[in-house]
Subunit: 346 residues, 4 copies
Amino acid sequence: MVRVGIINVTGYAGAELARLLAAHPEARLTSVSGRSAAGKALAEVFPHLAGYDLTIGEEIGDVDFAFSALPHAASAEAIVPLVRAGLPVVDISADFRLKDAAEYAEWYGVAHPAPELLAAAVYGLSELNREAIAGAKLVANPGCYPESALLALAPAVKAGIVGPDVIVDSKSGISGAGRTLALTYHFAEANESVSAYSLGGHRHFPEILQELTAMWPRAEAPQPPRPRLTFTPHLIPMTRGILSTCSAPLVEGGVRDGGEARDLYREFYKGEPFVRVVDAPPATKQVSGSNLCLVHPTVDQRTRRLVVVSVIDNLVKGAAGQAIQNMNTMLGLPETAGLIAPAVYP
Amino acid sequence: MVRVGIINVTGYAGAELARLLAAHPEARLTSVSGRSAAGKALAEVFPHLAGYDLTIGEEIGDVDFAFSALPHAASAEAIVPLVRAGLPVVDISADFRLKDAAEYAEWYGVAHPAPELLAAAVYGLSELNREAIAGAKLVANPGCYPESALLALAPAVKAGIVGPDVIVDSKSGISGAGRTLALTYHFAEANESVSAYSLGGHRHFPEILQELTAMWPRAEAPQPPRPRLTFTPHLIPMTRGILSTCSAPLVEGGVRDGGEARDLYREFYKGEPFVRVVDAPPATKQVSGSNLCLVHPTVDQRTRRLVVVSVIDNLVKGAAGQAIQNMNTMLGLPETAGLIAPAVYP
Amino acid sequence: MVRVGIINVTGYAGAELARLLAAHPEARLTSVSGRSAAGKALAEVFPHLAGYDLTIGEEIGDVDFAFSALPHAASAEAIVPLVRAGLPVVDISADFRLKDAAEYAEWYGVAHPAPELLAAAVYGLSELNREAIAGAKLVANPGCYPESALLALAPAVKAGIVGPDVIVDSKSGISGAGRTLALTYHFAEANESVSAYSLGGHRHFPEILQELTAMWPRAEAPQPPRPRLTFTPHLIPMTRGILSTCSAPLVEGGVRDGGEARDLYREFYKGEPFVRVVDAPPATKQVSGSNLCLVHPTVDQRTRRLVVVSVIDNLVKGAAGQAIQNMNTMLGLPETAGLIAPAVYP
Amino acid sequence: MVRVGIINVTGYAGAELARLLAAHPEARLTSVSGRSAAGKALAEVFPHLAGYDLTIGEEIGDVDFAFSALPHAASAEAIVPLVRAGLPVVDISADFRLKDAAEYAEWYGVAHPAPELLAAAVYGLSELNREAIAGAKLVANPGCYPESALLALAPAVKAGIVGPDVIVDSKSGISGAGRTLALTYHFAEANESVSAYSLGGHRHFPEILQELTAMWPRAEAPQPPRPRLTFTPHLIPMTRGILSTCSAPLVEGGVRDGGEARDLYREFYKGEPFVRVVDAPPATKQVSGSNLCLVHPTVDQRTRRLVVVSVIDNLVKGAAGQAIQNMNTMLGLPETAGLIAPAVYP
């Protein structure tokens, strides 16, 4: 039984890790930390976790594996000693997602606390990076928006069937904003309302672009086209879920229609336990509480754009579920361990 | 491995049974029926159940145990041959809840299709009736409102600390109304709105009253007091959950305060895996997706009324979870099998 | 044109006053204050009020009438000099609702800042107190829960048809908690959840009881029965609206059935522009954004209890709309001025 | 006083017309029709319209102006005799929006019932077409999505600052789907869920494209570029509101940044009572219940795309409010008559 610790269990991602680990057959949550709530029982802070007999500590204790759900910068600082001590870690914060410390500083407004670890850190999107994850000691868990956008776009991008003008329009439930209070997330303000935000640039933008660029086919020409991304996130009056509507122009000789697109996607995701290519537009409710991503590629014949809709639960496949999937891979456990529960519908 | 069938899987209770059974270590869903959707794959009707490779049949096939999630009357008709064939059955419909066929006819508007089975049927509220359930071949799964009200009231009633004027004010999420379309449950009508309904008498009224009466302490006097119940159900703009606010006057010598009430309730529910007596008013979100019932008894000192608030997920402890708990007991499996997942919060 | 000022426009009640006054034919909002936002344009804080060209001041300027939407205690302090200067005022806070300064201190935790004004202040529930309001210089606007409960109960209480054991079970949208941030009102916490709160005693309890007692029929006996109230408020996942389910035992010779109850209520509310007795259970959506109260009295024949359901918009008839209705009466304007817009449905 | 009739008042657009007309100073609703509810009081079908003493008829009676809120095809059929009789009409259905009867037949699946009226019908988007509306007898009220998209794009398109690859990603509340029952709009299915729909082509697509093409600058070249539109509508778990996120590549010499874009938009909409260019991303809640459209243009500097977010209430500016605005213009009334109420926030 793997002994697992969660650093900063008091946010939604941390609590979701604890929820999912309760069903894990080969890992056991044995230690949780969280500064503001240190000393309290986990069940006091989160009544739904009353099944655990754990007290929140200042630090996590002796464990075989750690998740960090700290905010960025604080997370890297907390992880450095663990990684040095040889402990395998999945970081749910953004600290090890961007490969370039300067870009990190630009988007997150602080110097990277541990740039020396960036090279060894692996971007933990299982379906695209499984082998590297298997050999990694430090995995950067993807952001929720990037998870949904990259799973929607990767098959098309890798097959070279789309041109570089990529549009990602994402709709997120409000738990994505975390548990910290703000007027925008006050019920009476957020309910019965939709809004766009971070139009000047969301922190998940460079992450999506970095990964799209990395998978973009290399052209022969001296200056190959690189993806250009417009990413617009929206806040939706629901608790869980992200739907991303992604599109890009099809190149000559790309797929003929939606059917062909779905064939290509099905081939790409063949055998993947957590990605399903579906024939009808999916709804976030179909994945709520589960680690599934549903992907529905179509072709807008009038403009010859590929339009792909993907849905995930932002707290599961977009955070805690993906993190456990990464842990499983890093430890050589069955990748689906602890993650097989169907979505909670309706 | 117990082979399980669900009769009429196409409603919310049926689908929820299938969701929960996916996590059951000793039972396997092997057969599902549903007339309108017969011939379709289960995954087509319910994308969240894509993990099952099952086709919906006109009837269920050869199984070791059956749940019926048919509407009332149709359910009893379908169950009769199964029970005669010796198959253990949990009926999620209302058909075997009321002991009196005349009362059934009055409230449900049809003659009872199988009055001869009423005597043998056991009311399946585990915490109050475990032994009888263990020996039963036919268990009537409680209604969602009765489940929440009876768990809130039983410890006080059985201890004889309350008088007969019982008020139950229940608030239910809209999934309780099922999957059948009606203007009242149309999103634009139900959202941002609360309403009371069935003020003239809800079908769960006689069920609550029957069970309250059965557990009511027998007084010495020739005409013992019997409970008088006012039950008012409400529709709340959320999908899952029931909160019942129950109250009754404390008798002389009843508990002194909320603390004593909670002590009494904790003693009553000691060892129960699915009922927790809590120190703060609970929220339905704390049990969403789980088989838990949280109960919070308090005393209104100004009027000396006991006021108890309980919360359940109407589709789990109020339907499919309770049904699986009953199956476990009937088959001698661990009572918690398949039901240990924490609530999905937030 | 009456020049109107709003003290502390920055909460929901203040903003709602401004919204409603925009449609008032004989009053014009000319001055608004609000400390934290002083110096900002009203349209900056509330984009929906962009029609006003007003800057939020530290204090309101020269006006003919003032509303105070300050928190309790601060409100009384701000009102004292205005009342002394002869300005008619409606106080939306709780400061002048309770007649007894000691009771105020007990429930609100502070000594009353202006007990000398309590005697002259009039409780501003138009339908019950119109004449006194007409002659008042200081009107205490009712709390949102009392407004809904008293309108539901008054006709029965005044007719003497109910006994003293009164139960009020209220369900409120979350805007009732105001604009101040708290985890309970965070979208991801409040959405898809119902909870009871203030079970030990809500501040609106003494207000409801005071008014019920005042209208309770005086019996001949030396110790007449006085009402005993159990009041339980609940938080519902919607923005606006309160539904109160009120019940009390019918006395011998009380109304025979729901039809008779509705006749009695219709007679009581004859000519009232903002109370409608309805034949079917009302929904809060039917009054959203409007100053209406819908009341539906019924009789539970099994227990001979009167059960009355009422709905209001907590921010209109439960706050700003009632306040303007009071202003109209105080100033001799048509009582419906500015308040005739139908509800916004769906 | 203009006597107004509403044909088919029983849907959401019809009911919203009645709500808004209640505040109109120069028009009075005197007649309403609706086949299924004929013979019932308007107040019975819609309790929030109890202020009207009107009975729903099979047909509307003698009026000075008519709105048709019938479904497509039925609407044109009902309108033909009215137009022939000289009655000015606003058609809220889609029947007179597309100029080309063949295109109508393709998208709506029926031959156009009155192609001879198409030439005279005017597309009723006030801000773009005011003069033509003023002289028209038959105005086709825009669809809700086109209203939001065209107001977002028109200033940029007419200024010639964007190239032809236009993306419109729209998010709509569920009232846009009308009052007809369907599983998709069942509360338990729609709540806590987001989905895209009509990916193969929504009926509002040709309408948006027709109007974009009409306003597209004519180039000198023999084959001028024409707009290419990708339009993706989404269903959001809220009742009212549409947010459209629209983007198109900026041409060389287009606006430098968001500030310049907003200057251009402010100039374009100068004096418009119902369109406001705002400096921060707007939320649908800011316009709920009102006839306002908020528009927020920005520039994505990384890709040099213009990104414009607009919000409307789909039932007001997207339907009934725009219809009344058209009536006002057609009859020479003040354009804002009956439409000045601020949004209902929160």
